[in-house]
Subunit: 487 residues, 2 copies
């Protein structure tokens, strides 16, 4: 079946088999409707960076709105057999799925918000079966888009005001890898994409130059440039390295001079190989000498935040950056290790029971409760984040415990301004959140980053932003770990 | 617009803007219908390995079969403006696109075939405009699936006959990142996937265990195991590390003993953290002592071919490997650098003109002609590959030139058995190829790998498989480079 048709029908089986086997187990053991709280969070900022940009919520919302088991999904589940040939699932369970309507409450951090390790990006409250079932798609969508938005933000930061254009489709991990990366990169601050499908559906500005094959298809480079200039008289960018880069620059200039009287304007030249510092400096001289002082120098060739910083330090005269592979695959760390953990379960008596998952490594032990994140700020920006349990009342004197050294605590002055990061998205299955458009999300990310101290945005060895557990939650968690370890 | 709806309508804009601007340029300069030959190939085996497994052709075929510009695509293109507000494309060009029917001939290496650097995975012959337009989607699809099939083959090889199960959906790069990775990993030799959507649509066996949250949702680990065992009496795998791994193993055993009389069979236990060698050895002892000698030990936790090899060398008692992130994102090299280059163009006189793209690095200079790959073999396996130009006649005495050292040449004895790698897929736009099912493709890959010498399959420092240009093509290319450099 073609990919197109898969997407066109139903994505309800976009999950791991074990979500369905657990769902069946919960159904059989009478726990399907027990109220549960799950959090989706990550444990480390990607790229050894100091921050992360939340992205992907819109796709999560679309997925959840469309979540229901159709006949073909149920037929497939009915066809699954155990090793003895018996059906894996009873018909009663499949009927339950057929009638299931999504009824969880979902709170989430708006897209474009800066977030830090252990902070829930999404909190799901609702029937255990449903809240468990959606683990995998939520992780797939948010892990990837959050990763790429963060990577893009780092690259845009390194470009220091220069335009950054995403054109990684050909190296992306599949079709949605390209589409979602274009969306997330735009959130992270790129100006445009080369991806027409992303342009069409997400209203992202599209940009492009031409390929080497264009030049090869003509008898000479001059002829190729002239034909392209005839077709696109405005702001055209010539790729100059098909044969010899600096000769290519000269031909771009002579073409522009020749076509100038017809109204042609040379938008830029693009370098795609070789020593970009040397070539851009020499190209700038040639362009300036010919009066093309406004002409951009676009560079591409496996660039990322480290290389951009390095090229700038070397004095490269590049002012537009075309970024592909390294951004759309997050090459130096191609996955964000986001997880989805059970944190509370309501007993038959109606009380909440808090849950954690132990681990040899403390950082891998999950946090109990129904968590919210309070972000404190003053006029100069964000100061600290406090993760706390909304089901318990807060003490009068608030302190945040350093997650890496619990003997370090930070007191919060009583009148400090704050905002709560998680906002309601679904209430008992009903969408209550208005999805912002992509332009607003990009603006949010830009504003959020401006509120982080420069030392936290640094791409190498950044300072740690203070984010930790509220002190009484920390105490509760510690006691729970000790209790479970002693059992 | 939801992802589902994007895919449901048209993927014809799944390409870079510059493909459309070049198309417009070709249309305007009267070159749209000029016959061209393009090759899609990569320059280096991924993962510093010795081979690559071709994958993704089925999705390419589906994409090309469905390629046509619909009203909404054309409306989007019509809406694109240049910097002065003028439409980017003339109406005549959009009409041309509306009436365009895919009419290229496509030859391709069947999925599952082992391939080597510079060998065309796909050759497209047809109108320049069309052949150029499809560059990006072809690269997106083939780069990714080829990368993952190769990664999976390396991991399966390291597992030395143990089962390998793919369960990386949650860390995949988007929805299609998960789906296509499941498909490609199956081609590379994994036994099953956790991804139900891939199971449903690609008929891949699905497998799974349960999450930590299942254990947390019950008052005790014993209770959790018992409830799961009740729901799934056959071949159930218990995840044992929610609280303490070896205690978990003991509880899995006692549960199996308790449920045994009801017909329960313990399929396996799964380790997901900690020292996998130590824990698997101790778990094996506990299981064997209790008579569960058939029970599998499944391990997961960021594993790849290196770690599997290492664990085996250390004596780990693991016999089923659950692989996620490192396989589905090809973590250590998340992109294959496949490229798509113009190699020949027919002149108005009807002659073929061969084309290359120069580069400072010889490996980046493309090969001219209309290429085919001849693979020589004897009874013990594959011997050498010869890339040659099908538009020229072959000399009597065939020699292959080493791509890294052109003074080294390999003669081919006259009666050596061979096969041609590229087979017809589309003839002038008409599909003539019967797509094999996924099971056959997996079998092809297995057979192909068995024909490579072990030293080429080695995951570290493999031998180089002899693959190079046929001598007269090499001479022609060298002469062409010199001519272009001297111009």
């Amino acid at each position: 079946m073609a990919l197109k048709d898969i997407y066109a029908t139903s994505l309800s089986l976009l999950t791991d088999l074990y979500q369905l086997t657990m769902a069946y187990g919960y159904w059989k053991s009478g726990k399907a409707e027990q109220e549960a709280v799950f959090h989706l969070y990550f444990r480390k900022n990607p790229f050894t960076g100091g921050y992360t940009i939340a992205a992907g919520l819109e796709h999560v919302v679309q997925y959840l709105q469309d979540l229901r088991f159709r006949d073909e999904d149920l037929a497939y589940l009915a066809s699954l057999k155990g090793s003895q040939g018996q059906p894996l699932f009873e018909q009663g369970f499949l009927d339950y799925l057929r009638n299931m309507e999504f009824s969880c409450s979902v709170d989430a951090v708006p897209e474009g918000t800066v977030v830090f390790p252990s902070e829930p990006l999404i909190r799901v409250t609702g029937p255990l079966l449903q809240a468990q079932l959606i683990e995998t798609p939520l992780l797939t969508i948010l892990n990837f888009q959050t990763l790429i938005a963060t990577k893009a933000a780092r690259i845009v930061d390194a470009a220091k005001g220069d335009q950054v254009i995403e054109f990684g489709m050909r190296r992306a991990q599949g079709i949605d890898g390209a589409l979602s990366a274009a969306r997330a990169a735009y959130i992270g601050g790129v100006s445009a994409t080369s991806d027409l499908l992303a342009g069409q559906h997400y209203n992202i500005p599209v940009r492009g130059t031409h390929a080497h094959s264009w030049v090869q298809a003509f008898d000479s480079e001059e002829e190729a440039f002239e034909a392209y200039g005839d077709a696109f008289p405005q702001d055209t960018v010539f790729l100059v390295d098909t044969y010899d880069t600096l000769e290519g620059v000269k031909k771009a200039i002579s073409t522009a001079q020749k076509l100038g009287p017809k109204g042609f304007k040379l938008g830029g030249i693009r370098l795609d190989s070789g020593d970009l510092t040397y070539l851009s400096v020499e190209a700038r001289k040639l362009l300036d000498a010919a009066g093309f002082t406004d002409t951009n120098i676009v560079a591409s060739n496996d660039l990322d935040e480290r290389l951009i910083t390095h090229l700038k330090q070397e004095g490269a005269k590049i002012n537009v950056w075309g970024i592909g592979t390294k951004m759309v695959t997050a090459y130096d760390q191609p996955a964000l290790g986001g997880v989805y953990k059970l944190a509370a379960l309501r007993t038959e008596q109606g009380d909440w029971e808090y849950k954690i998952k132990l681990s040899e490594q403390l950082v891998k032990t999950s946090n109990p409760g129904k968590l919210q994140v309070r972000r404190y700020m003053d006029d100069s920006g964000y100061m600290a984040d406090m993760i706390y349990n909304q089901l318990e009342s807060l003490p009068d004197h608030l302190r945040i415990v350093d997650p890496l050294d619990s003997t370090r605590r930070k007191s919060i002055a009583p009148d400090t301004k704050y905002k709560e990061l998680l906002v309601p998205v679904f209430e008992q299955g009903k969408l209550t959140y208005t999805l912002p458009d992509l332009q607003s999300i990009q603006a949010t990310a830009k504003e959020e980053l401006s509120k982080l101290h420069e030392s936290i945005r640094r791409y190498l060895n950044p300072h740690s932003y203070p984010a930790g557990l509220e002190e009484s939650l920390h105490h509760y968690k510690t006691a729970l770990i000790l209790k479970l370890r002693n059992e």
